[in-house]
């Protein structure tokens, strides 16, 4: 019975991601771009969920792990011939090295994890507001350094000439990896111990759980997933420091909170739902046909509607669309069918 329930918990988000990807194969190329972006967003929000959802500690710093992942993958996979034009001051070793798509993504995940570990070593001692401001500081410092330090990247320039390998397939695989890793983590003993600290830190400590250690593990793991998502991002479109900054921090956090921050199902639903609304409105600005009529919104309404929607959902349903719970099958069905399978 318990295993069956776990199966449902992982299948539902996986199927949702799969459905989004399938939808992507059926639509026009321009719409497909929205679907790919949505899948990358799922990966980022799943990364956020691993730390924020399980620990209950707010982090504004995760987009800096996305950014270092994007930097690592972008620098390493750009063709050597293109590098001098875009990154004239690049350090020697980076200037002559180019790796393929898959290794660059692996390096992105590794760099994200390493950076999160280094940052987390001192910062995971903080809780509450202090943690929020300190992680915000990490975002500011990372943004500032990547923006001006031209030895390690393009600085103010944009990452053009990076091979655009993140198509529908790669984005879907990346999102699935993030979702499955997040699920496996939350079912592992480490995930359970961290959630125990979220519910009652004193009680968890009393039974021998190290709050600091568990938070550090989750922070590093979510840094790896965020770095991977950054790698996907830089292979999707030419990014620069401004793309991976406040707006992305805000919109991904809002996806997590709106979906329901304490469940993986909530994280995936939030990412898909907000991405869908955002893409629909972006299209509606060019005029779309809905239910027999034509909807043509003035340009710029999209960001306002998304912002207002976020504020509205937060006020009306602060626990998120899913209420922060994992998905469950209806009781009768679960009793009659699933018990037979798992017996």
């Amino acid at each position: 019975m318990r295993q069956a329930r776990g199966l449902v918990e992982v299948l539902a988000p996986v199927l949702l991601v799969g459905a989004v990807a399938l939808f992507g194969t059926a639509v026009s190329t321009s719409t497909q771009t929205y679907v790919i972006t949505a899948l990358v967003n799922v990966a980022i929000v799943a990364a956020l969920y691993v730390f924020i959802g399980n620990s209950g500690v707010l982090s504004f710093g995760h987009i800096s792990f996305v950014a270092v992942g994007a930097w690592a993958a972008g620098i390493l996979s750009m063709p050597v011939a293109e590098k001098p034009a875009i990154m004239p001051n690049l350090a020697g070793f980076l200037r002559h090295t180019t790796v393929g798509n898959a290794p660059s993504l692996a390096v992105a995940a590794g760099v994200g994890a390493a950076y999160a570990l280094v940052v987390g070593l001192p910062l995971m001692r903080l809780s509450g507001l202090a943690a929020g401001i300190a992680t915000f500081g990490v975002l500011e410092i990372t943004h500032n350094v990547l923006r001006y330090w031209e030895r390690i990247g393009p600085g103010l320039n944009t990452f053009s000439a990076v091979p655009e390998t993140t198509g529908l397939g790669q984005a879907a695989v990346g999102a699935l990896i993030a979702v499955v890793v997040a699920f496996l983590y939350q079912r592992s003993r480490y995930g359970r111990m961290l959630r125990a600290t979220r519910e009652d830190a004193a009680a968890a400590r009393a039974v021998g759980v190290s709050v600091y250690g568990q938070r550090l593990i989750a922070f590093t793991l979510s840094g790896a997933l965020a770095g991977l998502a950054g790698g996907l991002y830089v292979h999707l479109l030419p990014v620069n420091t401004e793309v991976l900054y406040l707006d992305l921090t805000f919109i991904t956090l809002a996806m997590l909170v709106i979906g329901g921050a304490t469940s993986l199902w909530g994280a995936v639903v939030g990412a898909v739902a907000i991405s869908a609304v955002d893409s629909f409105l972006a299209e509606a600005q060019n005029g779309v046909h809905v239910l027999g009529g034509t909807l043509d919104l003035p340009s710029g309404t999209r960001i306002i509607v998304v912002g207002a929607l976020m504020a509205f959902v937060l006020i009306v349903r602060p626990a998120g669309l899913t209420g922060g719970r994992e998905i469950r099958l209806p009781r009768a069905f679960a009793r009659n069918v699933l018990t037979k399978f798992s017996a």
Binding site: R125, F136, V138, V145, L253, V316
Partner: protein, 298 residues
Amino acid sequence: MTVDWQTIADAFGLGGIYALMAVGIGLVFGVLRLVNFAYGQLVMAGAYALAFAYTHGWPVWIGILLCFGVVVVLSLAMDVVVFRPLRAHSPAVMLVATFAVAFLLQSIALLWFGPLGKIAASLSSLNQPWIIGGVDIRKISIVSAAVAAGCLLALVLLLGRTKVGLHMRAAALDFQTARLLGVRANRVIASAVLVSGLLAAIVAVMLTVQSPLVTPDFALRDTILVLAGVVLGGMNRLVSATLGGFAIGFASGFLGGALPTNQSQYLPSFLFAAVIVVLLIRPRGLFARGGQQAVERV
């Protein structure tokens, strides 16, 4: 590093403005336990009101009145629409909600006024220097430091000598007990929000003199720095929050003026690194009083 009197006066002026913003954020935090990330957007709205008055050629005092009106109405509306329904929820939800409000207001400004920005230069004569003892000092640096000092004095009187102030202090100390003893929750919160809105309007006037180009992200950087400063100083007491705001404003104004450009571009990194170090060593804040409740550390 070149230090002159102008740099020091500028640093004092910026420190004064940041101190006022810190008070505005700290007052609301005191009664609501809510960190208002959208505070900068109140300042931005006020700055747009000033720009609106300037482009229509209205006199300065009408522009300032309009600025005060817009900011106060907006902050009271924010209280009714956003803060009130969320009062019972966790600080994290409230912080993300004010994040959403900030984003919303910024997008409205972007749609309404465009990304290029409007000019609000009706008080630009304050950028001219005064010559004091043979040293040139911009008027606005002295004016902002003086206005900040005046506002803080008025606030001390309001909090210390009036009934509303007493209620606000009681509510900041222990909201439940204060309510049991007859303090009206909605009124005390509304007055804190009102005072914080008035301060935002004053900050808008000062900041538009310093940088007359009003864009949708006007005051955003300042708000982020002030929030860091408030936590740096210590959020639980208004005095320590104000000192933290002043300190980060002074440091950013001073180092920004004194360092050459190729070093000052990394200024945000140094400031936030300092903030992180302080948070690790003294998580309750630099100027917080030691004692009663220790902040939870893991």
